[in-house]
Symmetry: C2
Subunit: 343 residues, 2 copies
């Protein structure tokens, strides 16, 4: 059986059926106000009958606008698609929804190494602008996009650079409310598992919020640096192991990422230390994985629907040569079980 391919119907066919010129069809369908209501209806009916859709390539060639945004997700080299930070997937979904609400299409690509790096969507007239999101850790990729800065219209999430148009979580505030919560729960000797690596700006910002809140509460901030180069959960595991072996007492942990927190909890569990009874734990990003851990992980949750929206809106403004002001995405405390002392 051969599938009958649909015939191509153009605005000329619609014009013929409606008994008008082709340019009238174009105007009628695009809502040009100079067209009479009667004509518009006749054209619309003809278009409906013929199942007519405008050829987007012709439209774009003629108008010079693509009504498309390119979204690049930066991942680690050779990274398994299952290991991509779930936060970035959710953000991708939010971006698609926000773009769709503005009637924009979204072109997606996952990029990691030299082979895959590509920024010329505007040069090829495939998109009007670019949203780049993803892991801060792939420095090669960010350097590549940073170097293209003058040639592209873009907004990014997760870049290690400050001299770009970015949108970010309110990381400082997240550190503040996480710490305030632990203090309110009665924890006092609160440790922060973080990295002050200047490339991981977001971690340093979260630590700062923590440290300031500790000092404000008359407590001593204690930073415990995670080891570089390990998977996040291993970083959490090893950090807890090292703290315990050092003999420094602590009764709570604020980890700057959920995966680190989950690793820390696993290590505590293996050693028979109760969470939240002996040690309270709070993470960051509110991954779904944290909902299934035992106990469920308390975390800081960015409003990432808003994050997607801000990325899209700010990009659209940049495309229009306008300036945008909002760059910080609000966060809120999501209390699950790992930080709540019974009683």
């Amino acid at each position: 059986v051969v599938t009958a391919r649909k015939v191509r119907v153009t605005s000329f066919d619609v014009a013929a059926l409606a008994g008008v010129s082709q340019s009238t069809v174009s105007r009628a369908l695009s809502g040009d106000t100079s067209i009479s209501e009667a004509t518009r209806r006749r054209v619309a009916e003809a278009a409906r009958q013929l199942d007519y859709f405008g050829n987007e390539n012709a439209i774009r060639l003629r108008t010079g606008r693509t009504n498309t945004l390119a979204v690049v997700v930066i991942i680690r080299e050779e990274e398994d698609k299952r290991d991509v930070n779930p936060f970035h997937y959710s953000l991708l979904g939010a971006i698609c929804a926000a773009a769709s609400a503005r009637r924009y299409e979204v072109l997606v690509s996952f990029q990691s190494g030299r082979e895959t790096l590509f920024a010329h969507y505007q040069d090829q007239r495939k998109a009007d602008g670019l949203i780049v999101i993803g892991t801060t850790e792939n420095r090669t990729a960010w350097d590549y996009f940073h170097a293209q800065n003058d040639n592209i219209t873009w907004v990014c999430w997760g870049s290690p650079f400050d001299d770009l148009e970015w949108v970010r979580s309110d990381n400082h505030q997240g550190g503040v409310i996480a710490t305030e919560h632990l203090v309110a729960q009665g924890y006092r000797r609160i440790l922060c598992l973080a990295s002050l690596d200047p490339q991981q700006t977001q971690f340093a910002e979260r630590y700062e919020g923590y440290a300031q809140t500790m000092r404000d509460a008359g407590l001593e901030p204690r930073l415990f640096e995670i080891e570089d180069g390990l998977p996040r959960e291993e970083q959490g595991r090893s950090a807890v192991a090292r703290v315990l072996e050092s003999g420094d007492g602590f009764d709570a942990v604020f980890a700057v990422s959920d995966l680190i927190a989950l690793g820390a909890m696993a290590e505590l569990h293996d050693r028979g230390i109760a969470v939240p009874g002996d040690i309270g734990v709070v993470g960051f990003d509110a991954l779904r994985s944290g909902a299934y851990s035992i106990p469920p992980l308390t975390s800081i949750e960015p409003d990432f629907d808003l994050a997607g929206k801000m990325l899209v809106e700010n990009l659209l403004m940049a495309i229009d040569d306008k300036h945008s002001e909002s760059h910080r995405v609000p966060v809120r405390l999501l209390v699950r079980g790992s930080s709540v002392r019974r009683g």
Copy 2:
């Protein structure tokens, strides 16, 4: 500061610089064999100097091919982007990678309710074909695409229909190896948490693999139907609660989805029942969330890199009016902790 927008350079500019005609530029750059090596080099050098990129809209208009695939992710109505099955996100990533390897662009949209449903990518010449993936449960959405079957070139994953071009996990085989594993671990009174709802074909297939293996091992298959309409983890929780209250003894659970399995484990934990000591548990899909549960969840893992590749390859064949044969994605057993009796 006004950003200097890049000037548009066309093949005419390249032609002028290289001292050839515009059509020669086109041929040289597209690798036409009739062009002399000397000319090709001159043209390539001119293009490089001018930072020339072909206007894709003109190319597509002229050639009629878009070199773009549209990917539609079907989600539940009003579903939070964080609640989207992580498996579908990973699959999306794998599809993007596979398409990219074939030099295709990917246009992504998340669709749920009437407002967002849209299948006319080919009519608008935005894409050469369509991949539809996502939750079986949004019947409205699948009905919509099913109705478009004659007008679109597409391949799907997760559809409740059998009369379409689909790619699926080898669900039956997954049920078999999950059950064989539990039996090998010494479990005998193995329960299957599933739904035989004909809309959830994949669940019924997994159950069949389980049931057959049980019978082959001289054991009695025991189906415990999950309740409709609840979130997956609640289905797992309530199923375990009801089984326990019924007093029917069991020593293991094969849940047809990881989220159901995680819910079941949470309920067992709350009731002080040890996994895997008292009860062994195996899930399906190998979500990352299962790696962080306590104990980590044993699961059946589809090769979803291959899944993405098969979807893309099969679609490209369909676009070429060719027939594809491979539709089943192989699965493997991923042993984590929840099914391993300490020896």
